[in-house]
Symmetry: C2
Subunit: 547 residues, 2 copies
Amino acid sequence: MVSEQKIADVSFESLLRIFTIPEGPDSTLTQIEESLSKNLNQFLREHIVAEEKPLHEIEKDFSSAAIPEQPEFVSAHTEHLLDTLVSHSVHTSSPSFIGHMTSALPYFLMPLSKIMIALNQNLVKIETSKAFTPLERQVLGMLHKLIYSESEPFYNKWMHSSEHSLGAFCSGGTIANITALWVARNRALKADGDFQGVEKQGLFKAMKHYGYEGLAILVSERGHYSLKKAADLLGIGQQGLVAVKTDEYNRICPEDLKHKFAELKQQSIHPFAVIGVAGTTETGNVDPLREIAAICAEESCHFHVDAAWGGATLMSDRYRTILDGIELADSVTIDAHKQLYIPMGAGMVLFKDPQAMKSIQHHAQYILRKGSKDLGRHTLEGSRSGMAMLVYAAMHIISRPGYELLINQSIEKARYFAELIDKQSDFELVSKPELCLLTYRYVPENVKLALEMASERDRDELHDLLNQLTKFVQKKQRETGLSFVSRTQLNPIRWSGRDTIVFRVVLANPLTSTEVLSNVLDEQREIAQSATALTSALNALANKICD
Amino acid sequence: MVSEQKIADVSFESLLRIFTIPEGPDSTLTQIEESLSKNLNQFLREHIVAEEKPLHEIEKDFSSAAIPEQPEFVSAHTEHLLDTLVSHSVHTSSPSFIGHMTSALPYFLMPLSKIMIALNQNLVKIETSKAFTPLERQVLGMLHKLIYSESEPFYNKWMHSSEHSLGAFCSGGTIANITALWVARNRALKADGDFQGVEKQGLFKAMKHYGYEGLAILVSERGHYSLKKAADLLGIGQQGLVAVKTDEYNRICPEDLKHKFAELKQQSIHPFAVIGVAGTTETGNVDPLREIAAICAEESCHFHVDAAWGGATLMSDRYRTILDGIELADSVTIDAHKQLYIPMGAGMVLFKDPQAMKSIQHHAQYILRKGSKDLGRHTLEGSRSGMAMLVYAAMHIISRPGYELLINQSIEKARYFAELIDKQSDFELVSKPELCLLTYRYVPENVKLALEMASERDRDELHDLLNQLTKFVQKKQRETGLSFVSRTQLNPIRWSGRDTIVFRVVLANPLTSTEVLSNVLDEQREIAQSATALTSALNALANKICD
């Protein structure tokens, strides 16, 4: 063997050492870890969002495609990572980072995630995960119960049943949604007579067998962009993702949904799934799930709820009614890395019917044997980490009432912020928070007045200028790095569907104080007023209109 | 807001504390972390594979679907995890765990993974990842260069180009393979005249437009089970995954590949992708990639290489020729969590042509805007963690020559073990190691002799008994917990394609000594001899045949 071998400056002996567990608190690695922890904690305590450095500058540090020929010491490389990577990453846990669904993490997850990394289990099969497999099945059971509230005997029967699965743990909402639609497609095009099912014979033969001209998935105009990926991937085509109209609160219109069903069927297109959104990404609104469920029941159509973001609201006895009807869904997506405060990479899909996932079941000789409890038999992904343990731990340490408090404070803080915006003479709330997400923009007082009085053409021009201003303010604020809100484009009914660029705020971080919120508005006002070319143009036009 | 609120025993103040970064080395969390680290290190130093406890016993600890109503202290819950989870997980890093592709990790990844967890970046977009985005692009560049060896100007031009992507980082080989086949399918059924492309109009319209009766993906009989999932998901159907014959070394037969092309085309079935396997999961053999590439070039067919496991061999100047021709592939899958020694959840797919991923490109208003460098525009997954940083760190700390040593020792240890097995009078090597994977079984000396002389019927019976014996030994060895080898079923030409159950060994852990290997054989021999009913039956039949 190669134990005597040496290539370049690397000896096999030194390599063996890197696989050896250090002994005692004085080992170099233990010291490196301590100093790293200190450094990271200091970084996390700093309450700014990002050090300003343009991306093209940062790219210079990451420009070589050559794999190094010389090894580096761990200590030296750690310093290098702190300088080039950590210092130029985004403080997603900063109280003033309120632009996306990624928030602060409970600190206890840092030490506990060591268990996940050190044990390096592979959840695809029992042989490489053992106790992690029943743990993950329990976590899926917990989320299933949170949604469907089935009885204890139900979970005793199904939770650990080798031939069944209450859902799948996966890397995130996109895979969760794809899994749900995959199941729905395969059940809609199942084996029938001579036809052996879409999973075996493919979509083309399935369509011919069933006599369809196309397939459709129905979702509101506000559905997540990843659903287009899903429609593409599953062979439906993006045009098969049919957008249903929304009302002024960004919720799907049940009447239009019925209308779309009729329209599609007339064209021999089979709508096999409807997606209700429980927390749209852009405005945080929740579709009328109970009404959608009734329509789906009538049409015998799979009803999926994308609650990737909003699903955690079910933890709150006070607000879970916002998701009323979710228990009627055939499947539900929830991301634990959003409002369950788990690190990135923890998505789940739950199925009401423990038999549902049979339509995508698979096995292999060396693993996933029939009758085994291997989780990999029902997952889109293969090898997977033991991430479920962090959900398990958080459920126990935070507990349901703790999560309720977190959810409640988020929603109530968003309401507070909406009121604060409403009180400003120079801001306009564009979408009210139903959960903890809201959108708004900066509109100088005289421009507000002008917007009311303007002709359609002038209104277009005002909107155009305001859009430029919002974009400018959002970018400048991000670059300055004190705080971060995101931006998106909406088409509010109030503004006759005009393209309207807005600030988008998600208030999940419990450390975000009312002071932070005031400061965000002050900073935006200041930046807007510094954009003299745009504000002058707005003023001139507003004065012309109001004269 | 709710700062005064209290639900059950949880106060909002106590919740704020869990989001606050502890100060100083005396904080409770720092102490918990230290004690946890000690405990984990002790666990990792223990060289047994698993404590024996039947799964149904372990399940009792994970049986409640109710989310707790009472919070637990972090310290108490950590103890609980150590007792119920850690102690009943699998020691995938034990030197005697030689049954799967998951091996020991370099210890320095434990402290460094803290950076990933603590910063909690989301790689879907720049706004939530900043420096992690160029870092991931660089890692993809490094792997691309490892495979395709393009020039420096090539990487300067493409690596950080917003409209291009050299590949995608994902959770593992399954998603990587699906991504490659998705790209291949969309390019095969691209927009053409009135037809707007399969991504927009779906598979049914695509097939009608192109006049195909079916689609096919060609792969050897030894292709990974996940390819069936891919064929199902993409709407091709599992029957569209056409198995090509393999030779006695489990490598695809180019002649049969050509034959299959002809056969399919005669049936108007369009073979749009061929998959070469570089390291089959069951025997570790590598397809003749250069020959496959030539056939694909002639047929204008996408050539994908599934090198999820074997791809890391490219790090070894000594052995990279085993993968000769991989540089001709249109796309390649490599898992960093296999032979690059990275924790679970690090897959990659690389594309030769930086334009290739345009066929699956997508964007949205609030993120992934056109012209942005957001990685999410070219990934199947949405939100993703900063796992690429661990690959980056390992590349720098271990370096290319270090990886070469690791790869070389694995291959050479497997050869040593194969020789050791060959020397035993009562073991039979079933598949020789081409990389570091081999298969074998226990066959008593007199049974070996009898197998040679037996009639076909007796041979069937001997095989059947041997299969039972192998299965028994593998299970018993796993349950005993001193060491672990996996098992699978092969159909060796030597045994006229009979179903043959074998032990399967993967030798990636550099700490696995020759002594461990001898012990594994000794233990298997002992267990086999203890299975008196089976060995008596084998003996009796062998004696009858040899008489």
